[in-house]
Symmetry: C2
């Protein structure tokens, strides 16, 4: 009796659940410490201590009716102002509270902005490999997600193909940098090229094309790499942010959208986004946690932990003969499959109790994603397994 559209989603989700169940069964059989689960993009670093301190301060100092109460659908004005000020300080932007809309995580924010913008049949572009949930978010509003094929040399977007894929129906482009699943940070040069193509195509079709920057991994960048702030390169940019990774609060569902004054029809877009937040059933981002992220505006998780993991795993895999673009951000390695069929390869890895995700799930077959947001000790224990797996293919 469920909706027709849901049937496909459920079937797909059963596969993931089957993988998860398989992992659990394996752990029961051989012990959890002998299963090397690299399948989940789940933060492995504790939230900063200031999160707990902030919660207690708020509970002790503020009125409980306000802390847990309704506010404007956009969120607490003071929280939005704190975030705008912080972005301005970091990136030299000129935002104020009316450019910030607090959301139920980045997933909530993406749904809000797609509901705001998309008419049925309109197109949204993204660059493969990409986070598979974008398919669902765009389908929620009867839009059409189209992916530019991956540039597997360095996983910077393929700009030539991008340009050919834009049509009069293109309403938005979603980009995700640092990227899930590659960990690659799109360079300033890439961003400038994307912006130039979009400007040209907007003029050509006399349309507005919104660039949606999905940025849950912004703060997870290594080796001092710069992650360009996209609103500075293209006026029609909307940023979706999440504190899931930067403060290790994925369960709390807290993030925000930045809708700059410079976007076309700013007034309509911001107001419609607030309404969309309400009618999609989010109503507002969770209230206490809104106040917490404002108090923790300068806090960050200890990314050195991820960096150590990255170095150990990357260097080891290269030594064993795997090939991989060394990622500068996020917490993933995107490794070339040792056989053409990435699903078969991920299946073969299970023989050594290695759980990794086929690249097909991200629109990029022939690769696998290895999430290194795990214990360092587990990586150490897993290395012989990766080596044996490689040896099986080098015989």
């Amino acid at each position: 009796m469920i909706a027709e559209k849901m049937k496909g989603y459920v079937a797909n989700s059963s596969i993931i659940r089957a993988m998860f169940e398989e992992g659990k069964n394996l752990a029961a059989k051989i012990g959890a410490e002998n299963v090397y689960d690299f399948s989940l993009g789940n933060p492995s670093v504790e939230p900063p201590k200031h999160v707990k301190e902030s919660i207690i301060e708020i509970l002790n100092e503020e009125n409980s009716m306000e802390v847990h109460g309704y506010m404007s659908n956009a969120g607490f004005e003071s929280v939005r102002k704190t975030i705008a000020d912080s972005l301005n300080k970091k990136f030299g932007t000129y935002f104020n509270e009316n450019n910030i809309l607090m959301t139920v995580g980045a997933a909530g924010g993406l749904n809000v902005i797609l509901k705001t913008l998309l008419n049925p049949g309109e197109e949204v572009l993204t660059f493969a490999p990409y986070f598979g949930e974008y398919n669902n978010y765009v389908a929620n509003f009867d839009g059409k997600l189209l992916a530019v094929t991956p540039n597997t040399v360095d996983f910077q977007p393929n700009i030539e193909e991008f340009e050919t894929k834009i049509t009069a129906k293109t309403k938005a482009v979603i980009i995700n940098t640092p990227n899930n699943p590659t960990g690659v940070v799109y360079s300033e040069e890439t961003i400038k090229k994307i912006a130039a193509v979009l400007e040209k195509k907007q003029n050509e079709y006399n349309t507005s094309i919104y660039l949606i920057a999905d940025e849950p991994y912004r703060e997870l960048a290594y080796d001092g790499v710069e992650v360009p702030y996209l609103t500075k390169y293209y006026n029609n940019t909307i940023v979706g942010y999440s504190y899931s990774k930067s403060l290790s609060l994925p369960g709390e569902r807290i993030g925000y959208l930045v809708i700059p004054n410079e976007v076309d029809d700013y007034d309509d877009v911001f107001q419609a986004a607030c309404v969309a937040n309400r009618i999609l059933g989010f109503v507002n981002a969770p209230s206490l946690i809104q106040k917490v992220v404002a108090k923790c505006i300068d806090a960050e998780v200890d990314i050195d932990v991820y960096n150590r993991n990255r170095e150990l795993l990357y260097n080891s895999l290269i030594k064993y003969g795997y090939s991989c673009v060394k990622p500068e951000g996020a917490f993933y390695l995107f490794v070339k499959s040792l056989e053409e069929d990435d699903k078969a390869f991920a299946q073969a890895a299970k023989k050594y109790n290695l759980l990794i995700v086929p690249g097909s799930a991200f629109g990029c077959p022939g690769y696998v994603r290895i999430a290194y947001c795990v214990d360092y000790a587990m990586i150490e224990r897993s290395l012989p397994a990766f080596e044996k797996l490689a040896n099986d293919y080098n015989k």
Copy 2:
């Protein structure tokens, strides 16, 4: 550039915002203490002290990675079990954790279950007067909301008309008791009649018709009135609950769906609802607050505060010549407009600084909603204004 569908929503929401702005301007002009704002259904009673204590206990005793981390899209298993056990104790039901899906408030829950069930063009019935957001929630999935006309004698649903409105396309019926805006609790007799009609029509059309009980006001019931638990009367019942009112946590966005084993295609429905929770962008209900509501499972706000408000306002209005069905639940009076046009009446009330909502907003013209979730002292101060307003019509 916003989506066509959004334009109507934004226009509509501008009217509400205009009302809100008008109230703010009035407050600035004559002082907030002289504005009698009865327009918002916003809890006015503090959360129980146990909420704060629970948060601090959780932060001190549990691992911060779990407290703020991802869990299954359905929510923490232990939280779901605590809720199932509590419902079983209260209502003699037989739920377990696999019947409970934690949601981002009742609004989130309703969207999840409608996404799960509705195909485009399918019909959802409700009884006027009803919460206007149902229109938006059903439209989100291209369903069609149809309202049974109000029975203004006692605001129990009109069962005869209900029966005639059910078709082969009817996929769900939303009921809300205690009701917003009337405060009326649907009697056990009413519930039995609704169940009988649904059974009959399911057989007649060979369909499944899901009864969705939207229950944010369940605990706000006065004079010892019984609010029937609907799963006991009709197998295809799904309950949507919220802690917004029972614990005064509306900003936290926390609630749950109950999907009993007895509903048709239980396995598919529960699994699809978990997937819908994910792909709509909720992902999961906020994690810390999930744990809080489990710890506060037996806590309740002090509803005597609302009851005192109810008695004072109801008795006073009746004395001044207003007519109103005395509500047994929620925190609203639904009062007959003193002129045919409820919008004109609400406008006339502003002359005395009274802010009330026209019944047309709830599909029931000729009435106004007066929300008494306000300070008792404000009600006392407002009484001369209500009296003068009545006198204007009795000249």
